[in-house]
């Protein structure tokens, strides 16, 4: 058992004259026994990265190490890793027993009786003893999935590599297998790299998650850290469901008066004076109390009590997580488009200027389509991003798990900072 280190791993494909960089100098360390989830939109290079670790793809440059050993030049079968494929890839002509034992038969000197013992052990661990004599095509999707897992487990490899193993299951089974996989991984304590495009899987399963986009590694951290302090707009948008509301806002440095008019609680400014500030010169010098106004799409007008994040910016991208929105008497007013009652919560889709925003609101609030709704967001929950680079200027600052550690559960229902 060992950790996995990717050292500036690069993978290029050439299709005709075009060079495609699938994996762009990725540095990544998977700790021994860790469950690392590699997540990103399709085509971001996560599967290619996994295949480079597996040895199914040669890297263009860089190194892959298992523990201290450099395995870059080794072939897949020499690497002592097991992989679970998205479509399970069970051998259709072998029964479950042979499928499970195939790896041992090829890569070890065990007698067939010993292999059979291990097959029985793994089968009972996964609850598939009854299926041993069946062919893969006679199994349901969930059963096939278990066999695929068993085939990986039985080899007792240095690492598990999983390529979207749950994506072919129906929603209920997927949720079940999610917990089962985690339990199994904890029991076996084997380093695991898990690829998925599903951010729910990433958030719920990973000890740490690594977000990729366009072949580049964006951020690595605990699910909470990535959720709370994304390094850029992409990560903020990708992690979190429903995804974060993002829009442009101009930064306006205002005087004391504007702050007083908004009530001075660091909350949202109401409109009547919004139009005034829009027409006024945006380069009003910052006053001693240091507040700054964000003038966004539609009715959005927000006073930041701490101007440091936007110090050098004339405009920013504002991000508000749907779960941080609370309905209030004063604040930004939007028009309801659709309300999705979920039972324990309601999702509100509302029109903010020219774009739609999502809010998770109390199940008792039931605005009808067309109704105006006023909401507010605590400043500690507001995300700000550089409009050009997308880099995060400000992320959540309320008291919850400090970034970088993942020991506390995510407090998704925010607003506790108030």
């Amino acid at each position: 058992m060992s950790g996995i280190t990717l050292d500036t791993v690069r993978k290029e494909f050439s299709t005709g004259d075009e060079q495609i960089v699938a994996v762009d100098d990725v540095d990544l360390e998977v700790r021994d026994g860790e469950f690392l989830v590699l997540v990103g939109p399709s085509g971001c290079g996560k599967t290619t990265t996994l295949r480079c670790i597996a040895g199914l793809e040669d890297v263009t440059s860089g190194h892959v190490r298992f523990g201290e050993e450099d395995v870059t030049g080794l072939r897949a079968r020499e690497r002592d890793v097991a992989m679970v494929f998205q479509n399970y890839a069970l051998y259709p002509h072998m029964d479950v027993r042979t499928n499970l034992g195939f790896g041992l038969k090829l890569s070890t000197q065990l007698s067939s009786a010993e292999i059979d013992d291990q097959v029985e052990d793994v089968a009972s661990m996964l609850g598939i003893e009854d299926l041993l004599d069946q062919k893969p095509k006679e199994l349901s999707g969930g059963q096939q999935q278990r066999v695929a897992l068993g085939r990986a487990i039985i080899r007792d490899p240095a690492a598990f590599l999983m390529d979207e193993p749950l994506s072919n299951l129906d929603a209920k089974l997927r949720a079940e297998m999610r917990t089962e996989l985690q339990t199994l991984q904890h029991e076996l304590d084997v380093t695991t790299v898990y690829v998925t495009h599903d951010q729910t899987e990433a958030m719920t399963m990973g000890d740490r998650i690594a977000v990729m986009n366009d072949g580049r590694l964006q951020q690595v951290g605990t699910p909470e850290a990535v959720y709370r302090t994304p390094v850029n707009e992409f990560v903020a948008k990708f992690i979190g469901s429903p995804s974060i509301n993002l829009f442009d806002a101009t930064v306006e440095r205002t005087g004391d008066t504007a702050v007083e008019r908004t009530g001075g609680d660091g909350s949202v400014g109401q409109t009547s004076d919004g139009s005034v500030s829009q027409t006024s010169d945006g380069s009003v010098s910052q006053t001693s109390d240091g507040s700054v106004r964000l003038d966004g799409v539609g009715d959005f007008d927000y006073v930041l009590s701490d101007p440091t994040p936007v110090a050098d910016h004339e405009s920013v991208r504002v991000g508000i997580r749907p779960e941080d929105v609370t309905l209030a008497d004063e604040g930004t007013t939007v028009e309801t488009n659709v309300l999705e009652p979920m039972g324990n919560e309601n999702f509100l889709y509302a029109q903010l200027g020219d774009q739609e925003m999502t809010a998770r609101i109390d199940p008792s609030a039931r605005p009808a389509p067309g109704d105006p709704v006023t909401f507010t967001v605590p400043e500690s929950a507001v995300y700000l991003f550089d409009p050009e680079t997308g880099e995060a200027l400000k992320t959540k600052t309320d008291e919850a798990a400090p970034p970088g550690t993942g020991d506390q559960p995510t407090n998704r229902v925010d607003g506790v900072a108030e």
Binding site: R77, A82, N87, Y91, M94, P136
Partner: protein, 307 residues
């Protein structure tokens, strides 16, 4: 009866009638051959009342065929003992010099060896073309396909000269080797092997399989039905080969088509004997199909359900 149902019934009747007609057109010549083999020549060649029902002259026709001195249809096993005494080297010697297999034995021997050899070569080449990337893969593949347009007639002389250089004239290898890497077979195997999911092979690679094991333990078993189909095609191809065996083989090694050709004499065509030979030549093909039919059908069904 409603108008629609009636129309449907009429259509169904016409469809069946058409299919039945097709079956009759296909089967009548076959039936004629089999029946004729049991009749005296005068009975089935009669211009006034040709007999269409089986008679009892099959054995006498067969004996007449066996008694000919320019053709040995079914070999005389007794004469083979002299070779068996040579011992283990017999088989190797056999291939070059086995004389008295008879046409039936020659055809079966050649077709079986050819089919096995060609299955191996075609499936290997097909696997490579379907699942590996290498330089000049496409041009090579098209070059192989292009050889399909060369008729055997064109190849007879150069092939004969080649076989003469290799000292393989009048050897069974002369009609086995030239077509062993059958372009049609390579094409079929490549097309079918493309349907093997890459993940399946990668999964086996992760399980520790070598590239040869991928071919042998994964690709071949999953391709069983395609292999069965190809086996029938290859066997039939070799079974029906006529021109080149005629050129390159000598009398004792004649295959069935060449042997039958010998029954067309200068003065007389021995129709009764031809019919017996033709009937007998159908038997191995029939058996082969019976054996492989299960694979054939199961392969067709396997693809039809979701896996």
């Amino acid at each position: 009866m409603r108008e629609e149902t009636r129309r449907e019934a009429v259509w169904q009747f016409l469809t069946y009638a058409f299919v039945l007609l097709g079956a009759v057109v296909t089967l009548v010549p076959l039936y004629w051959i089999v029946v004729a083999s049991t009749l005296k020549e005068s009975e089935f060649l009669s211009s006034t009342a040709p007999r269409l029902l089986p008679g009892d002259s099959f054995l006498s026709n067969f004996q007449a065929l066996q008694a000919r001195d320019n053709v040995q249809f079914v070999g005389h096993p007794g004469e083979m003992t002299q070779y068996i005494e040579i011992g283990p080297l017999y088989v190797a010697y056999d291939v070059w010099h086995l004389w008295d297999l008879g046409a039936m034995g020659s055809s079966v021997f050649v077709a079986v060896v050819y089919t096995l050899l060609s299955l191996v070569l075609c499936s290997m080449a097909g696997f490579a073309f379907a699942k590996y990337e290498f330089r000049f893969k496409q041009p090579l593949f098209y070059a192989i396909l292009a050889t399909l347009i060369l008729p055997i007639q064109l190849l007879v002389i150069p092939l004969f000269l080649l076989m003469a250089q290799l000292d393989l004239t009048n050897s069974y290898w002369a009609i086995i080797l030239p077509w062993a890497a059958n372009p049609l077979g390579i094409f079929l195997m490549r097309q079918n092997m493309q349907s093997i999911p890459d993940a399946l092979l990668e999964s086996a690679r992760m399980d520790g399989a070598t590239e040869f094991q991928l071919y042998y333990k994964i690709a071949l078993p999953t391709m069983k039905s395609s292999l069965a189909a190809l086996a029938i095609i290859l066997f039939l191809f070799q079974w029906n080969l006529f021109l080149f065996p005629l050129v390159v083989l000598e009398q004792g090694k004649y295959t069935i088509p060449v042997a039958i050709n010998q029954l067309v004499g200068a003065q007389r065509v021995y129709y009764d004997q031809i019919m017996v030979a033709a009937t007998l030549s159908i038997v191995p093909i029939f058996l082969l199909f019976l054996v492989l039919q299960k694979q054939f059908v199961s392969g067709i069904l396997a693809g039809s359900v979701k896996e």
